[in-house]
Symmetry: C2
Subunit: 384 residues, 2 copies
């Protein structure tokens, strides 16, 4: 049972997309021929942007379309909800869809009022460009980029069952949910409760394990729309969904602001999976580990220390290994320092894995991250 | 009742100090004429360096001297406890003090065995230089520096009651305790239980509220030695102690690795003091806030978002203000953005305060921090 990667992005069976950019603003549209069963996972930040409030309320009733803009977060402003509703209304009108079935998402600067005139004209423009071609999905992925350097889309197919997604990420990737917008489409015929459970489980393993700088945004949104054209088993769907979210999460980490290296942290032997996740994220979010990775410095002490700061461990039984295309080496194994010269050589690669065995139980987890560079500082000092 | 700052550092009534540096290693000694009542607060990282284990066990029985080295953390190594004990033994011998009454502390790279030959010779050398002059305290403060750019010492006097301290900090300042060594001396005549309670309360308000990069070290140690020569009331002592720890915590934040600006975050109106502390530390540790501060960018959205990521707030009633020598301005006040041009002007100063009123209760807290600069990345990419 092998998945096939496709080039469709969100333009899987039944869906069309479009995307346009103009100056600071961009607008992406995704629409299905008929109303979909839908599911959503949102930021746990207590400060929620208006589009999150709008969409959270409506996702349970099924969505047929999604409108997303970059350039303005529509957060912490008067009239935010009104503007989010207006985006839905304009989209519904342009697509001939009930406005209550339009999911809305925004990304950009907090505290600035949306220029609804500009966004409205972009919605109109995009609605005239809707297409089911892979390029249309890529245009949508491009339209929601902010500090991202690359559009991000992944889609897979297995025996006619399709799942596709686009997302934006880059900076502000969070301990609880990667700060990002992600839209996933499928032709699966599954109930909303099954979809919601599947999405939550998938997000926990993927986006919630991706770390760029540890801040959690006001706008995080993952939406799943299912056209219902293909009967399938929930476990088969989960497998495809997990593939898509995991690959998107990796792309987000790889495209972390200013990142020069991609990092995977694989923790095994933790007391349970919850402490494994805490440990993996502690390593992936430590500024000291991230700068050491950037400097190609095999400083395993920072790895052990960052885990010990979050969960109880016994360093005397711990093994830490570095792995890349250059090979694998234990840098710290039950009290002994390993071959640091070889470790430094392994760290020279662009994609590096840190493997930690805590020898305290059967808990496992993997976190995704990147290094911390001068470029990250430059980008975030200037972004406005 | 006004405190007087003095120049004594740890060389208050009854104490002598010395410090020497040689290559990567440095050794500081502090000794009292007679055994002291003592108290200690240590890292909560589950990975504890050997000197922490040694000193924690002995601090309750009273200490008479402290030996601290820079250059090696003596953490995650075989024979760590043996080496820590050897440092105490050599110090005891050189100072004619019971080795069980010598507190030991280390800072430096994790996972490398201490060169006890070098440290031993530095202990011997320092013991021949003991003096009660302010310079001796400063030498001790210099000897424990790692990436610190300045030695840190503060001392105060009030009607014959004296409290003085030295510390090292710089990077790796923590959510739970600033990664650092701090040694405080006093002539107060107070019981160990009073001293321990006073120290814990003081550290919670000062070092535990200082944030450089959010990592918690394996070696954090604060020790307090009281010579007992001056009768005093616990509340008078607490006042002096708080002054010393607070000023030292500020110096640590100000000297954060690569920092170009000092930041104070004052949160009021929180539900309780615990959530106020969480909020203040969330702002002071957010990489997005820290880079915005570096860039002189009055991005109040990142401030509100970083608090909302940690505690429940209602952004509609929140006020955020920036303050410096240039003045004070609300940048966000109950839904309205303020004068950002003036705010940018205020941010140009080297010392900046962010004031947040959550309007949810009476809880207050202040955190100390610094900006995040390219220089931080450079220092930590290369440090070994």
């Amino acid at each position: 049972m092998n998945l096939n990667e496709t080039r469709k992005g969100v333009c899987v069976d039944g869906f069309k997309a479009a995307g346009v950019k103009e100056g600071k603003y961009g607008v992406a549209l995704i629409v299905c021929q008929s109303p979909c069963a839908s599911a959503g996972v949102f930021t746990r930040n207590s400060v929620k942007a208006a589009p999150v409030a709008w969409t959270r309320k409506r996702v349970g009733g099924g969505l047929q379309a999604v409108v997303a803009n970059s350039g303005c977060a529509n957060a912490c402003v008067k009239n935010g909800l009104k503007d989010a509703g207006e985006m839905a209304r304009l989209t519904g009108k342009a697509l001939d869809v009930d406005a209550g079935k339009v999911g809305v998402a925004s990304t950009g600067i907090i505290g600035r009022r949306m220029d609804i005139g500009v966004v409205g004209s972009l919605i109109k423009k995009a609605s005239g460009m809707l297409s089911k071609s892979p390029k249309a999905s890529l245009d949508a992925a491009k339209a929601i980029m902010t500090t991202d350097t690359k559009p991000k889309q992944v889609s897979v197919e297995l025996e006619g069952l399709e799942v596709g997604g686009i997302c934006k990420g880059a900076g502000m990737i969070a301990p609880d949910m990667a700060t990002m917008l992600c839209f996933i489409t499928t032709n699966a015929a599954l109930s909303e409760s099954v979809l919601q459970k599947a999405l939550k489980a998938s997000v926990d393993k993927s986006f919630n394990m991706a770390v760029v700088d540890g801040d959690m945004s006001t706008n995080d949104t993952v939406l799943l729309l299912a056209s219902g054209r293909k009967k399938c088993r929930p476990d088969a769907f989960q497998k495809l969904l997990d593939y898509v979210t995991m690959e998107l999460a990796k792309k987000i980490a790889l495209d972390g602001e200013g990142a020069s290296k991609y990092l995977e942290v694989e923790v095994s032997g933790a007391r349970d999976s919850e402490s494994a996740a805490k440990a993996a994220k502690a390593v992936a979010s430590s500024p000291l580990v991230k700068t050491a990775l950037y400097g190609g410095n095999p400083n395993w002490g920072r790895i052990v220390s960052s885990i010990g700061g979050k969960i109880k461990i016994n360093p005397d039984v711990v093994t830490v290994a570095f792995k890349s295309r250059k090979g694998e080496v234990n840098v710290f194994d039950r009290g002994r320092t390993g071959d640091l010269k070889k470790a430094a050589d392994i760290l020279r690669e662009k994609e590096v894995k840190i493997k930690v065995n805590l020898r305290a139980g059967g808990g496992k987890a993997t976190a995704f991250g990147c290094d911390l560079t001068e470029e990250y500082v430059k980008i975030n000092a200037g972004y406005n």
